[in-house]
Amino acid sequence: MSQTPIFRAENVSKAYAGHVAIENISIEVPKGSIFGLLGPNGAGKTTFIRIINQITGPDTGSLWFNGERLEQKHLHQIGYLPEERGLYKKMKVGEQALYLCQLKGLTKKDALQRLKYWFEKFGIEAWWHKKVEELSKGMAQKVQFIVTVLHEPELLILDEPFSGFDPINTNLIKSEILELKKKGTTIIFSTHNMGSVEELCDHIALINNSRVILDGEVGEIRNRFRTQTYDIEFKGSMMDLGNSLGTYGELLNHDSDEGALSARVKLVNGATTNQLLGNIMRSIEVTGFHEVIPSMNDIFIEAVERYNREKQMA
């Protein structure tokens, strides 16, 4: 991808009185991708997102939007759904949506037209004159989502977008996100819900303890975290399997469930799957063989733990 990334951060650091929030963060968000910003609570994700939205400024480092230095004017091209989100409770839904969209630079006329489209799409036209306090939390979240995307931002930043949604609405929002991506919107997606990361993200950056400890394309990262581990289902005896592994594999664990035997084996000493299979097939009958691919959840935990270990050693 030789295209200019829509957003780039270079060595961005920010300290609050007394503690470092983020340190030397450098990331590139390719145009049209869904970029997952992951990390445990308190890692510095929200601080970093606030810096992108120019709510706070970085102490050092530079930020670029579409190849230009990030400035106040770019806010109109950014949509932001914060984790701590809400609406004016006493204000009517329609009026409030209009107000928030106008603050993002839309004219009243444009805002009205687009709001109408989205309210119809979500089937919530009837809420227009209701006060926000009369809506349920999920309903308010829908309104909030609409307001976030209404000015058709080039870059959409969603901080824990699914918190507060029931599964049905989560799916609705997910499909909206994918549709926006199709239209060319780039999305930065901050979460610690790894399931949704696997489903949606093309790229991720994992932030832990104020630093990026892992970043890249999801497929590539998964490859990096493959552990040469395989699940084998077979007929025969566990003893035979164990004996036939020889120097190729190491038995991690095993299980026998109603006569069906299975085992998890890790390749060792640079052996290939063919060598392993060739060896064990002489003693047992293999009925299933597949690689154990690490889930994002495993990768997350593994990366964080590895980082913490290294830090302790140093």
Binding site: I55, G86, Y88, Q102, L103
Partner: protein
């Protein structure tokens, strides 16, 4: 429309459309007018008719005590013993009290009794006392050969015409009492405005914080724009309410004034005993009475001409300036307090440094008003935190223009400084949740870049 314009519009419209705003706008002047009307109304309706049986052993007052609208005197045949008068009172609904005047009332004024079965109002008692006192005094004076006319002629009333000689040598008359009223009233209004609307700014900030809408908004506008938009929007709400109050209360007050005047006109007929006495007893020639009336008229004219002496354009202009300036300098601080807390209950600890200067200036206003040109008054009207109230108290007495200009310039500078400081606290505070903030923390926000 610019973003700050949008914010001002929202802050303004959501507030003026609230039911509470409309209710307060209507209720405010009604309450103010009630301050004028209720006492009069109470005075008119509070008392029942009092029927008093007069047993006058001295024979001095027989048929001479004049009835009022509510008080009626009854004079039985001479020689009715007190006891039978008492039993007559107990036996009938028509008599509420018995007034017993003993024989030697002139020499020993003590011992006059009012015996009642139904407690008479304080006004009844006072009226009887006054009537007796006046009558006895007149008798005594007459005995020593002084007639009523001589006394009236001896009465003197002095009102000083205070004249200020300024540097240019021009004389300007001043009416101290009127200046006091105008000054204090303006001061009180500014005091109220700062509190009422400053607190609204604070509440607005807390609302945005607890609703968690703040982060959505400051991803579109700068925190400072949001804060200023809110402050200006609420100032406009205040001005609107103030103007509506002025219009409504002047209508109501002028209405109630006519009511008051009517009432006093009536009362005068019934209660002005002195006049009645002098009319019936004095031998004074009519010309003197006319002369006295003319003197009164002159006094009234003097008061009205003094109203002209007060420089109303300057007062009105500076009132509006200090009204807004005072609000602005404090509301930024109120906004900062709102940003530092999660709910209104936590505001207490930070409110003190804000409320102390306001209350201090309000208290000092009463001192300044008695000595508007002292050194202390000068300094208090220069310091931006006290000047809105103190200067407004001083202005009706006449303050050199350079002092007003300096005070205004300092207020503007003070406003810019506090708003800048408050903005620094605000932009950090609005994003802090669930943390008890200390003064130390606030200081860090202030100095941290």
């Amino acid at each position: 429309m610019s973003k700050i314009g949008l914010i001002i519009q929202r802050e303004y419209l959501t507030r003026v459309r609230k039911k509470s705003f409309i209710i307060m706008t209507i209720l405010g002047p009604v309450l103010m007018a009630a301050l004028f009307i209720v006492p009069v109304w109470l005075a008119m309706n509070e008392e029942d008719d009092a029927n008093i049986l007069v047993i006058d052993d001295s024979m001095l007052f027989h048929e001479r005590m004049e009835d009022t609208e509510k008080i009626h005197f009854h004079f039985p045949e001479y020689g009715l013993p007190l006891d039978s008068a008492k039993s007559r009172m107990m036996g009938s609904e028509d008599i509420d009290a018995v007034l017993f005047i003993h024989k030697k009332i002139i020499s020993t004024p003590a011992g006059v009794q009012l015996i009642y079965d139904k407690q008479p109002g304080i006004n009844v008692i006072r009226y009887i006392e006054n009537t007796l006192e006046n009558d006895i005094e007149t008798f005594k004076l007459a005995k020593s050969g002084i007639n009523q006319a001589t006394i009236e002629a001896a009465k003197t009333n002095i009102t000083l015409v205070t004249t200020k000689l300024d540097e240019v040598g021009e004389e300007s008359k001043a009416n101290t009492e009127l200046s006091m009223v105008v000054g204090l009233f303006s001061g009180i209004l500014i005091y109220m405005f700062i509190f009422l609307y400053g607190v609204q700014v604070m509440r607005g900030v807390i609302e945005e914080k607890t609703n968690r809408i703040i982060e959505v908004i400051i991803s579109s506008v700068r925190p400072f724009e949001l804060m200023m938009g809110k402050i200006i929007g609420i100032a406009l709400v205040g001005l609107t309410q103030f103007l509506l109050w002025v219009v409504l209360s002047s209508t109501l007050i002028s209405g109630s004034q006519t009511l008051v005047q009517q009432h006093f006109a009536k009362q005068e007929k019934g209660t002005s005993i002195e006049e009645a006495m002098s009319r019936s007893q004095s031998l004074a020639p009519e010309s003197e009475e006319i002369a006295e009336a003319k003197l009164n008229e002159a006094a009234v004219n003097e008061l009205f001409s003094n109203i002209d002496l007060i420089d109303f354009p300057v007062i009105l202009g500076s009132f509006l300036f200090y009204f807004l300036g005072g609000y602005l300098i404090y509301s930024a601080l109120f906004a900062a307090v709102g940003s530092a807390v999660d709910n209104e209950a936590d505001t207490q600890q930070f409110m003190l440094p804000i409320t102390i200067p306001i209350i201090f200036s309000f208290v000092m206003a009463q001192v300044v008003i008695n000595n508007p040109e002292s050194t202390m008054s000068f300094w208090l009207s220069m310091i931006p935190f006290t000047s809105p109230i103190i200067m407004m108290v001083r202005i009706p007495f006449g303050v050199p223009y350079w002092e007003i200009a300096l005070s205004m310039a300092l207020l503007v500078a003070g406003f810019i400084a506090t708003t800048w400081l408050a903005g620094r606290i605000y932009r950090t505070g609005i994003l802090m949740y669930g943390k008890k903030i200390t003064y130390k923390e606030l200081w860090k926000w202030l100095v941290y870049h």
